[in-house]
């Protein structure tokens, strides 16, 4: 129909204007008619009335003049009569000019004819008066003039009344017309208003409804609902807009689906990866509700993902210690959580033996550093634990089995030496000494093996407490002081002032110091020039303790491997007794204290063994 809204609106307005125009025209027409009527009334008919009236007056005057001529012998009467005759004629002409009614011409003609006779009759009257006297004149008057006069008057009156009637008629007509006009114009105006109103509502509806629909649907699209489509009616601008909107909506829908597909794929990929990890993976959110559990975790903890998701951690996994860890994790800012772990043992009905797990937790944080949750990694270390247990059992059994015969051997050798003190041959003496040495060596080896094995498996507890460094050194050195004196070794101890307390297991560190000094004693000369120094000082955030000797030093190629198990620097002059485990044990102990151990040395330059201890925070 109409191509554009503009046209529609213009058409509507045009229609309204048309109606207004029609109404106006109708009113104007009616006004015109009324004007015509009034004009008619005012002009022609009224003029005729006036003319008739004046004619009658003139006639009356003429009659008066005639009468005065007759009865008063007025000399002016004739002149008067003539003047009024002129007036009569003048008004008669006017009346003739103002002919409006169809009867009028005849009437006027009649008047004219009669008047003509009247005028003639006056002349006759004067003649009679003059020649026949007054009484004859008067008689003439009564017989001829007066009837004529009456007829004319009658005729004039007729004219007058005709016009008056006409005027009345016209007035009534005008009144009727006016009231009709009022009525019809009111009606027309009303209908104009109503149609105008209707048009306004219709057009505004036409325009605003689709726009309203558009707005509503756009809002929905903005909120993410891309399913919206608008029905298109007509082909005006709004229809075009609606078409474009539908196209856009469709595109958005497709785009979203594409993105959603992409995201879904990525999500599925990530999920597949997590599922396939052989360690258990669990994720909890800020409120400690489970949001992810992979297959391995389900198996380890004997729970089902379907039943557990969304529920609180403790509802699903009844392990206080784990939950405590999860709660603490977000608070540990700046701490590398990957190194911290807790060990968990689960007795499940599925396997006879309890299973062992190493649990490690890491916080999940977004770029701004807000906590999003915790990732828990569960590693099945049952095998490791089993192997470790086996090893410990083995070592334990072995060491016991070794120690038993070693005891009787040691005792027997001691007894033999004692019993045959002065009776041995040099050979026998040598043999006995050899026996003693080797039994001692075996004893030491067994002890050290056992210790090392225990420390390595983490079975040995380090009882870490705050220790005064000088006390530690004194305590360690006490058993060796005699030997040092015997070997004429100069021993000094330098501990820095204000050195803080160390966090250490006194017995274990004493063992380390003892071992280091014992080693040193084997390497320094025993001719009185030997020097062993112990120093302790504070470094950045730990304490460094060093054992320095002026022995023959350790070649560089050995310095790294010296802490390995069973390693010994081969030297013919070396006094036997070591098994190569001492330094390995030192290393394990120092490591268990969170410290480091190393050596600085050079051939014939002596050696310095360093190890670090943590500073006690209390």
């Amino acid at each position: 129909m109409f191509r554009s809204i503009r046209h529609k609106m213009l058409a509507a307005f045009a229609l309204v204007l048309l109606i207004i125009a029609l109404t106006s025209i109708w009113a104007i027409v009616n006004f015109g008619n009324l004007q015509g009527d009034i004009q008619d009334i005012m002009q022609s008919n009224y003029r005729s009335v006036v003319a008739a009236q004046h004619m009658m007056v003139a006639l009356e005057r003429q009659d008066s003049a005639q009468l005065s001529f007759l009865f008063s012998s007025d000399s002016n009467a004739a002149q008067n009569h003539r003047e009024h005759e002129q007036e009569f004629v003048r008004w008669h002409t006017r009346a003739r000019d103002n002919i409006t009614e169809p009867e009028e011409p005849d009437m006027i003609d009649q008047i004219e004819t009669l008047y003509g006779e009247y005028i003639f009759s006056f002349e006759e009257l004067r003649q009679v008066q003059e020649y026949k006297g007054s009484s004859q004149a008067r008689q003439y008057y009564y017989q001829v003039t007066f009837p004529l006069f009456e007829s004319i008057k009658e005729a004039c009156r007729g004219l007058l009344e005709l016009n008056q009637e006409k005027m009345l008629q016209l007035q009534t007509q005008a009144e009727e017309r006016a009231s009709r006009a009022i009525f019809s114009t009111s009606l027309l105006s009303l209908s104009a208003i109503l149609s105008g109103l209707f048009m306004a509502l219709y057009i505004s509806g036409q325009v605003s409804r689709p726009i309203g629909d558009l707005i509503f649907k756009m809002k929905r699209v903005a909120e993410g609902d891309y399913q919206q489509q608008i029905s298109i009616q007509g082909d005006d601008e709004i229809a075009v807009l609606a078409t474009e909107f539908n196209a856009m909506s469709e595109k958005l829908k497709r785009y979203e689906r594409m993105n959603v597909n992409k995201i879904m794929m990525e999500k599925q990929k990530a999920e597949a990866i997590v599922e396939s990890i052989s360690d258990g993976v669990m994720v909890t959110d800020q409120n400690h509700h489970l949001i992810l559990i992979n297959k391995a975790a389900e198996r380890f903890l004997d729970i089902r993902e379907k039943e557990s998701l969304g529920r609180h951690f403790l509802e699903v996994i009844n392990r206080e210690e784990l939950f405590r860890m999860i709660q603490e994790v977000p608070l540990q800012r700046g701490v590398d959580m990957s190194k911290k772990f807790t060990d968990l043992t689960i007795e499940s009905e599925l396997s006879e033996a309890p299973r062992h797990f190493r649990v490690n937790m890491t916080p999940i944080r977004d770029q701004q550093g807000t906590d999003l949750g915790v990732v828990t990694l569960i590693q099945d270390i049952t095998r490791l634990v089993e192997v470790n247990d086996l090893k410990s059992e083995f070592v334990s059994t072995v060491s016991h089995e070794f120690r038993t015969p070693l005891t009787s051997m040691t005792m027997a050798i001691g007894l033999l030496k004692d019993q045959t003190e002065n009776q041995q041959t040099p050979d026998q003496q040598e043999l006995l000494n050899a026996l003693e040495e080797d039994t001692q060596r075996l004893t030491r080896l067994v002890t050290e093996l056992l210790d090392l094995s225990r420390i390595e498996s983490g079975k040995v507890q380090m009882n870490l407490e705050a220790c005064l460094v000088d006390e530690l050194v004194t305590y360690s050195m006490k058993p060796l002081l005699v030997q040092l004196k015997e070997k004429r070794i100069t021993y000094t101890c330098q501990i820095a002032d204000q050195i803080p307390m160390a966090r250490a297991d006194k017995a274990k560190i004493a063992w380390v110091l003892n071992n280091l000094v014992s080693n040193a004693m084997r390497y320094v000369p025993d001719d009185g020039t030997g020097v062993i120094e112990i120093k302790a000082k504070e470094a950045v955030n730990h304490i460094i303790i060093e054992v320095a000797d002026n022995g023959k030093g350790i070649p560089e190629e050995y310095q790294k491997v010296i802490f390995d198990k069973f390693f010994q620097v081969h030297d013919q002059h070396e006094v036997g007794g070591g098994a190569g485990l001492g330094l390995a044990i030192c290393k394990e102990i120092v490591k268990a204290h969170g410290g480091e151990i190393w050596v600085e040395s050079g051939p014939d330059k002596g050696s310095v063994f360093y190890f670090t201890l943590r500073i006690s925070s209390s």
């Binding site: 060491s399 120690r403 001691g414 004893t443 002890t447």
Partner: protein, 124 residues
């Protein structure tokens, strides 16, 4: 003469300890299992008991407990001898009433020193 009781199931160790003690002038009684040890302790009332832990019929810990519970024997100092050298083992031994603990293998000197230390140190 001071009597010392040896409770040890390894015959060689028993033999060498006996030899040593006798040489040093002690009188020695010996047994190789826990049940007999308790009985013997009550019968003979030695001045010191050297007690191995891993022995048949009743282990050293139980023996010590029994000895302590028996009013006749409860005053006798008990020295544990064992290949077990861990702190928990020593602590446990002490808790059960052991007076001292010596780790195998030990030298003749070690043993004698230990005995000297504990003899006469009768428990109240």
């Amino acid at each position: 003469m001071t009597t010392i009781m040896i409770v040890e199931d390894e015959k060689n160790i028993r033999m060498s300890v006996r030899m040593l003690l006798q040489k040093k002038g002690f009188s020695v009684i010996e047994t190789d299992n826990g049940v007999d040890a308790v009985k013997l302790a009550q019968d003979k009332l030695p001045q010191l008991i050297l007690l191995d832990i891993l022995i048949p019929k009743m282990d050293g810990y139980l023996v010590c407990e029994a000895i302590r519970q028996n009013p006749l024997t409860k005053r006798i100092p008990v020295v544990f001898m064992s290949a077990k050298s861990q702190q928990e083992d020593q602590r446990r031994a002490r808790e059960l009433g052991g007076s001292d603990f010596i780790t195998k293998p030990f030298t003749t000197t070690d043993l004698l020193e230990c005995i000297q230390k504990n003899l006469g140190g009768e428990r109240p």
